[in-house]
Subunit: 457 residues, 2 copies
Amino acid sequence: MTDMRSRLADIVGAANVRDGADAAEDYARDEGLTSVATRPAFVVAPGDAGETAEILKAAAETGTPVTARGSGTGLSGAAVPRADAILVSFERMNRVLEIDTENHVAVVQPGVTLRELEEKTAEHGLVYPVYPGELSGSLGGNVATNAGGMRAVRYGVTRHHVLGVEAVLATGEVIRCGGKYVKASTGYDLTQLIVGSEGTLALVTEATLKLQPRLAHQATVLAPFGDLTAVVRAVPKVVASGIGPLILEYIDAMTMGAITYTHDLQLGIPDQVRDTSQAYLVVMLENRDAERLDDDVAATGELLTALGAVDAYVLPGPSARRLIEAREQAFYTAKGAGADDVIDTVLPRAALPEFMARVQGIAQASETFVVGCGHAGDGNVHLAVFQKDADKRAKALRELFAASMELGGAISGEHGIGHAKKAYFLDLEDPAKIALMKRIKQAFDPTGVLNPGVLFD
Amino acid sequence: MTDMRSRLADIVGAANVRDGADAAEDYARDEGLTSVATRPAFVVAPGDAGETAEILKAAAETGTPVTARGSGTGLSGAAVPRADAILVSFERMNRVLEIDTENHVAVVQPGVTLRELEEKTAEHGLVYPVYPGELSGSLGGNVATNAGGMRAVRYGVTRHHVLGVEAVLATGEVIRCGGKYVKASTGYDLTQLIVGSEGTLALVTEATLKLQPRLAHQATVLAPFGDLTAVVRAVPKVVASGIGPLILEYIDAMTMGAITYTHDLQLGIPDQVRDTSQAYLVVMLENRDAERLDDDVAATGELLTALGAVDAYVLPGPSARRLIEAREQAFYTAKGAGADDVIDTVLPRAALPEFMARVQGIAQASETFVVGCGHAGDGNVHLAVFQKDADKRAKALRELFAASMELGGAISGEHGIGHAKKAYFLDLEDPAKIALMKRIKQAFDPTGVLNPGVLFD
């Protein structure tokens, strides 16, 4: 191990290698509720792709596991290292290399945070519209998990905005895939394969991201509904209307109560309405033209009332911002309330009413308390699961995932599989697909050093 | 071979197997200008995924090449079989299985044509917005080549609309990837890997496609410019305006002359303007609201004039439709005029002026005549190349592709590599990426029976 330490120091400089035992506790974990904090053998901070490639060569030669880390805000444990691993921290590779205003593209290093990219794009009237909620998250981590968030109903998720990557293979080769164009038919799309692969195929050292024009005007409509089923039934109709919402979220009454209490939010909803509402729909609209936005807000209010909303409130700017911020932090609210796990299964949006009915049944039968909110426009349901008994909880989770898959869904919409959901993934997914994914993994990483234990055993 | 024929007949029924020698000439070719027509050993038409799997098992056991065929409208030869191959024609698997109006999804078999899908979606006020121009093209072929077309600037290309596939591997396994949801982070994205793989990784037997609301109102603005550089310089500005055009095409004067002549088009452009214009920009807009569309048309006209257009004409509906149709058929116009090859390189849209300048230089130096048009909004340039001498032509093409790649582009935006552009692909692309793609190919197709000779030697 002394040999490895000096070899790593030769690559990145002594100041940029630490023994895991000496590194900050933060390197041992992510934000997942079930992640087991583990200090790696070494924490290494490369300065560029060339250094990253040398680290991977050293790892492959010695069979040493490598885990990549951005900001550590993941929820599935994919950035949590093994005890014998080299943790590659991209903290030094944190520059926005370019905001290209003609091609509407940003070129970033993996350690750049969403907050920094938001600030840099705003200066140019552009926006990177993927908004997973945690602004301290890194772009490298977002690429690794194919992060989503509230604006996916309008703009899609990380995958739809990564036009190209520079990536280091476990062979030590550095490749560049894609570029500043939105389409190509020139061999296999390696970029799309690397996005969402949770650090198991390659380490991304640069990403070329598609930007959008930043529209000037936004408005938020909040609609309480008598019951959750009515909310989720309304969702496909709002999408079909062509109004094109930026955000289309459902929040159940329990979660709304918790986040408004935690964040001391006053939304101006009469007590009587609040007491009889089981769930809320939040619709955010945007437009480059203020008048068009006003018309759309009016049309949305009428539509929601026609779809069974008790009422529809246009939230003033500051309240709307605080509600969205509070919703973004719902995970932390659930964590603070003692949630034992969170899931983010995705399914056809029209299957949400049936799924939510099944969730209630599974929760009751397993004596598990389940509350949530979700990106209703994309059928992505975020549930906080309260059940101390690990066996009962695992059984309930397996049933929830199986129900989602039976209705045409998948285990995770945006958090990823990592370690946290691996057992369910390997248990419920088609073995032929698992075997194929393992062969693909082998094609990228013949020595198996990239994030072993993530996705596969 | 008699054994194989009877084995295939056992799988699909005798009526659905033909010897290549007895099959129609059409099975031997696609529409590519350089494709070499080749009759396969057998033409087989499976009725479902199970039969397709049995065909692939028989092929893998005997090492017999398999090429998939939709409508044969490809331009790069990926559907042209080898003489010893089984050609799998999806002509019997031609049903639209579902138009799901709540999830905005179509589920189709690979033999469905774009025309049929257009008709079926129109009945429900929805649209599959990928529009590669040739409506007789099959969805299976579109998925295999990641087909693009004129509306990509607004809606993206095939890749962005394929939410899931059922696919048969060369192992005979049938897998289902993705589904009726727009995002997931549940293992590697096999769907996106299979899209654009030109029949070399798997045979797609069903595709789940994202649909959009069909907007009611469309308008087309035609703007002549004094020179081509001014046109391509205007493109990023139109995109940045936020007007969100559905179509943003450039057509050079030579190509415009040819397509208006061939299609007997009267666009109402004064002779004097036409005679001094070197190129045209076609901007199509759409909106769900007629008044908003009118405002956008006016704003577009002002913008184009400010960007140097000689004038901006709003085309009446029938003229606009005929111009777009004629533009779609530009390939056939070039073919009719005796073009020796076509290319469809893609590059950052802001690099178009520099690229077009280099094209002129390459054309002059190689005594090659090059004209074109293109999806300017996505930086996808379609050039017809007139040069009878094969060596001179190959040299010119290599220089054109090298120039595009040097400016950050890729060889093909939407036609694919197939056989037609393989030599350039293998010559110009990073060997590390080629080697990785070959390992991925091996992971899917260990016996190498799927479309050998396409993409790789």
